[in-house]
Symmetry: C2
Subunit: 244 residues, 2 copies
DNA sequence: CGACTGATTGATACGTCTCAAGGATAGTGG
DNA sequence: CCACTATCCTTGAGACGTATCAATCAGTCG
């Protein structure tokens, strides 16, 4: 699973992690940057930039939680590993997202780079100090935390009560929304099929089959294996089974 | 699903929600009460006591989040309902637990009484006001939030990557630990088989079958349908598949 | 006692996993 | 620039685990 790549190496600084056609990601970056207000800027003073290669481990479940991070570019996965190799991905983080905050001692999950990734890295101590001196920072971190919680609740429903097809439909819509992708426009899937499977609680084969089926039904198109176009958003929405 | 019981009615105040033999719950109450320090006591000044009958809805997903709650006695389930009746329970709350905090506008899940329940009810406004004036309250709520997050991560692994038997084993251990139950001592399952199924992402029949199988293997005993004795804790632990 | 609700067990169906093979793609070195 | 190779993705056939449907049992309340 955890095929460690070469140690931290030289990756072009401004490289866009989402490959070829990535105007959508620029927009995503902008929308996320609304988080970066005066409080977070104070935080960024004390951070340093770090890079990780594809599949590299950023920190392990159980490690002492010395730092927290913000994604500058690329994608990060947060996961739990079981002793027999089974893996559950709890979240994917994209540009602007923070992780590793409020860990109180030890990290409770493993963080790995999905592809080449650039992160801002903050000493936990500084964050704690700043969050007492800056009135809004703590509140802001709190909002971040509770948004994670909301996301996880939807994830629970997905894993507990949705069929494979419904999970794939929900997942695609989720990624499409985060990329601000319109119907008919392509967006990137930065993660592998295996990653998707481990996020959705499925196998890689089932993920492939469901994607192929959606393609056959002309609901989506797959120009390349990590690009997707939603041709019928409404239909995909209906397939999630969520219908309020 | 949501069979609304009689409107709020008279339930003996000091009734123990876990029925017959409940010394374990007294202990549970004590251990939880460590949360109730000077900050939370200030909060309790502004709360009122409310009661709900079995299966009554405390608030609905989407309702305006006017109050937050603390369980005094009984058990509460937090759940998401899908339009077709499918249900996923995100958490069970026991004496001492808080819920509905930090909802920012609207509740994002439904809260229902598992059995007759007594709650402390706090106006959200007061909590917000107190959490600015009391230096530690906000931090405390933050710790509560991130503990919820940790619990949810384990729940994700359970739903995404564990088999039915593993889920049942994990669930039993979880409830046993929360009840401070020793090997060989009975503890209460305050929730129905259907509730367990909806928490574990299984059907009621599968839950029954797995419990019966564990009973046949003499790993647990089931004196009554909502009491369980773990006879071989080590074996049950091994069955969770977690083995670190 | 009789009716109701929740729990249990059985027989069968179905969805997803497993195992296996083949195809596409990207990176590597000649 | 082109094999060569490794990795990822895709598809198929069959096995397995859990869901579904149906019947019975057990406890509770009127």
């Amino acid at each position: 699973m955890l095929v460690a790549a070469n140690p931290v190496n030289e990756i072009a600084l401004n490289q866009n992690p989402f490959g070829r056609s990535a105007p959508c990601m620029a927009a995503g970056g902008v929308s996320k940057s609304s988080y970066v207000d005066e409080d977070l800027r104070a935080l960024q003073q004390v951070g340093i930039k770090v890079r990780f290669a594809r599949n590299e481990t950023i920190f392990n479940d159980g490690d002492e939680a010395t730092h927290c991070y913000q994604v500058i570019s690329g994608a990060v996965r947060l996961c739990k590993h079981m002793s027999d190799g089974r893996r559950q991905i709890a979240d994917f983080l994209l540009a602007g997202d923070m992780f590793g905050v409020m860990q109180f001692g030890n990290y409770k999950f493993t963080a790995e780079a999905v592809g080449p990734v650039v992160l801002m890295c903050y000493p936990q101590r500084q964050v704690a100090r700043l969050s007492t001196s800056l009135p809004n920072l703590r509140g802001r971190l709190l909002v971040l935390l509770s948004q994670r919680l909301l996301g996880m609740q939807d994830h629970l429903v997905m894993l507990g009560r949705q069929t494979a097809k419904e999970r794939i439909a929900s997942f695609l819509l989720q990624v499409a929304n985060r990329s601000d992708a319109e119907e008919g426009l392509a967006f990137e899937l930065p993660m592998s099929r295996q990653d998707i499977a481990d996020y959705l609680g499925l196998t890689i084969e089932t993920v492939c089959r469901m994607l192929s089926e959606l393609k056959r039904q002309r609901i989506i198109a797959i120009p390349s294996s990590n690009q997707v176009v939603v041709d019928d958003m409404e239909c995909l929405q209906a397939l999630t089974g969520a219908g309020e």
